[in-house]
Amino acid sequence: MTNSWTDIGVSDCVLIMGSNTAENHPIAMKWVLRAKDRGGKIIHVDPRYTRTSTKADIYAPLRSGTDIAFIGGMIKHILDHDLIQKDYVVNYTNASFIVNPKYDFKDGLFSGYNAEKRSYDKSMWAFEKDEKGLPKKDPTLQNERCVYQLLKKFYSRYDLDTVSSITGTPKEDLIKVYEAFAATGKPDKVGTMLYAMGWTQHTVGTQNIRAASMVQLLLGNMGMAGGGVNALRGESNVQGITDHALLYHIIPGYNPSPNAADVSLEKYNEKNTPKTADPMSVNWFSNRPKYITSYLKSMYGDNAGKNNEFGYQWFPKLDVGQNASWMFMFDEMGKGKFSGLICMGMNPACSSPNSNHTREALSKLDWMVTIDLFESETTNFWKGPAMDPKKVKTEVFLLPACSYVEREGSISDSARMAQWRNKAMEPVGESKSDGQIVHELYMKVKALYEKEGGAFPDPILKLKWDYAKDGKVDTHLVAKDINGFFLEDIAEHPFDKKAYKKGTLVPSFVFLLADGRTSCGNWIYSGSYTEAGNMMARRDKTPVATANIFPKWGFAWPVNRRILYNRASVDLQGNPIDPKRAVITWDAANKKWVGDVPDGPAPPMGLEGGKEPFIMKPDGVASIFGSGLGDGPFPEHYEPLECPIEKNLLSPERINPTTALFKEYKFTTCDPRFPFVGTTYRVTEHWQTGIMTRYQSWLVETEPQMFVELSEELAELRGIKNGERVSVSSPRGKVEAVAIVTKRWKPLKVAGLTIHEIGLPWCFGWLVPKDGGESANLLTPTIGDANTAIPEYKAFLVNVEKLPAKGKGR
């Protein structure tokens, strides 16, 4: 989230799209309802009328996988009616930048496309630079190659008829949503967007979110209280997991993972430290080498020094071009390329797309260690349906993990806020905390390397590992290591000219150094556990009242900033654009900011020594034209891999031309055998694949069995009555479900055809309860987003058929 949960409550308009907030983030609805209480409008755009829709002032349906068309139409509406917040757009975005003449867009492709590699040469999308190396600009926005004009031309194709024909959203509903949200483009109005997996889990997932960000920039809603683009994360601590880099392509604090071509620390830093010629740009990532050295010191301690590149050569590297994300991993596992797997708190046998394949892949392993609270379809995969235990070679171990109430530590919510959680009780039985399990595993591995040696023991043997006392992990030691500390006495620190003692905790990441005198496990959490105490344990409700943010409750990264890009919430002189919702204000007399922690202490852009607002971008401004993503500088609508219509109504490119294809896997498109759009979702009552909830009788009684929701029209077409058993099938599998025939789902007119969509949850599995049914992920395809490779769980093709009745009561 760019913003905090609480400031959603001061918004004039909350657009919920790609999220079923009420069902999957029930507590978040508190803030949505606060906004509504103050007269704010709630809009919900979703294929299905959900519990969230019941609280919306405007509900609009759309076909799964067509969000860019919907948002693209909104961009066109904003530009056609000149509803942009012009000062904001000119000063704080790259709308005025001139793009070089090689940039083009034709027939669904941007310039620089390589069909064989399914990728672009992004240098074709560069800005024109002047003699100083600064991007050329036209603040009047008239130059035909400036971003604003290119944007206008690009989205001129997204007229209401075309958008409605792609999305299936009735035109009057499109207009209602566009008008309501675009009304927040005024300086004294603000709108926010809430999204979740309904935007990310598509082959165009990243571009869905970019499209949203572009709208927020055009309307001047980024950096404002009650504004921003807010990702409602799917698990309570998934934000913390991402921050601490449980993904292959990053190391803690969103620094890129090194690959084999980054042969030295110097090379790595050179490649990953952006430069700018703009003296007004803060270009924060020019500090990257400080964070990398401090991180390596935290990894290898005294073993890391200037003489050995701070241990950089011990650090694991990816192969050049390697994609080690989920689907690629299970693809390789299925080909027998893995011998073992440690599976911690995950249930891939139900959560993976194309789960039948995943279950097969697990059987190709020699061993699997699962670490979980309970048995799952993964821990027990070898005795699951269609498995012959005699033929499965995989040896499976289950290590009992304790639950969150049996251990203490931090938990980071969607708003980047870490809160400390106490332990309520000792772990039951032989269960242990995840940290303790990892510690003991490490000690064993280390002992084996010490005893037996190996090809490359140093990465294990040289690790600094001082998180346990008497064999018991102390979470506070881990938290302090993450915060960072000084490794030497520093007489005069370059940042504030003050003295710091060896061993003291650093106050924040601005004190980190690239010369090895500081250690820090994750720079963005620097400041979370300082000499002043555990900031994550703070529980003071004193607010910044205008913005409805609570800076003394917990700790939000970075440096306790609650609203990101808040320097864009003020005018050039530092006055809040919307004073009644002020986030920060420049106090000219005392030459400092008051309010939220600003995006850097420098004066506002219009004053002497002032800096541009978007400090993480080398250009200092936000990107309406973005050359960073692999699939284009503007979001373009492409159909899902499996779609019910023959072609993309906007271009000859049916699907995202840069998405990696898994050609050996089964998929189809515009197929009469699978005529309906399918989508998957969660329910309030079950947690993810259900392993923490399917053993709980109070929850199971509320949602006991697999269901499929479908419209009355489709039910009639297929002769299905409410409550009857049906089979839902895709090219990859089949699940049985109880039909919920509902008015909440309506067929849509798409490309002149009547298109039906159905939806099923993925919270069930064969293990428990016995009559619960199977996971919807037996149906979902192996394909993902072009940038992140998150699977396209949200749109695929299915068939629905009535099953013969089975006994009474069913």
């Binding site: 609805m29 309802l33 929850l699 009684e701 509320t702 409410n722 409550g723 509902t742």
Partner: protein
């Protein structure tokens, strides 16, 4: 006795069912065996082990869908027909707490099937439930063990949206009236249900029948109350006959 009251603002309810589950947790009620029968409402009805139930009601109107949630529970009537019926049958199974007004079914007092049938029929909201095996009655007890210690009922404590509210009766009625006035401007059919005679005051924004057939006390209910009053009067008549 002013006592306590619930104010249930259904316009804020998202049917997260936190209340339904919190009730089971605090009162340690059994999870029951259910099946998916084409509706998210589950269990299908209140029972000996389900005292709080979010009812889901989907209705179509001019091609648009409405989906209402009604978090059903005992109304804790000011003058509880169930209690008077039990008394008329000579049963001490139902008492009313003087301080809070909570209507409580004594879990130690057995009630025969025929008597329970009359008690259940006397309730305009169809709340009382009975276990055939133990012959014990059960329903929401206002989390009596919690409110006596100054805690909120479990269902109120857990509600994230402000749907469930609990407190002194006058404060709750004031809150209900204020919210009703706000909503009336947008929803002309907005109304409080039987606010003058119950301690569980529901606010709905549409015809209560669109939520649940027993959402509001209906004509049948009034007849039932009349029946109860008759039953109450009869023993007195008999008594007067004897002394007369």
């Amino acid at each position: 006795m002013a006592g306590k009251s619930f104010f249930i603002d259904t316009s804020r309810c998202t049917a997260c069912r936190g209340c339904q589950v919190a009730d089971k947790e605090w009162n340690q009620l059994k999870g029951t065996k259910t099946v998916q029968s084409g509706n998210h409402q589950n269990p299908e009805d209140l029972s000996f082990n389900t005292w709080k139930l979010v009812r889901f009601s989907e209705i179509g109107e001019n091609g648009k869908v409405k989906w209402y949630f009604f978090t059903d529970q005992c109304r804790h009537c000011l003058e509880p027909p169930c209690m008077y019926t039990a008394q008329s049958l000579g049963s001490k199974a139902i008492i009313r707490d003087d301080e809070t007004g909570a209507v409580i079914y004594d879990p130690k007092v057995k009630v025969e099937a025929a008597d329970f049938k009359q008690i259940r029929e006397s309730c305009p909201w169809d709340i009382p439930r009975w276990d055939e095996k133990t012959q014990i009655m059960a329903k929401c007890n206002m989390c009596f063990s919690r409110i006596k210690e100054g805690l909120l009922p479990a269902c109120v404590k857990t509600c994230p949206t402000g749907t469930m509210n609990f407190g002194d009766r006058d404060k709750m009625l004031e809150m209900a009236q204020k919210r009703l006035n706000e909503l009336k401007a947008i929803y002309p059919k907005a109304q409080l249900l039987n606010a003058e005679s119950v301690r569980t005051v529901f606010l709905v924004i549409d015809d209560p029948k669109n939520y649940w057939k027993h959402a509001a006390e209906n004509d049948v209910g009034i007849t039932r109350i009349a029946a109860v009053i008759k039953r109450l009067i009869r023993p007195l008549e008999n008594f007067s006959h004897f002394v007369g």
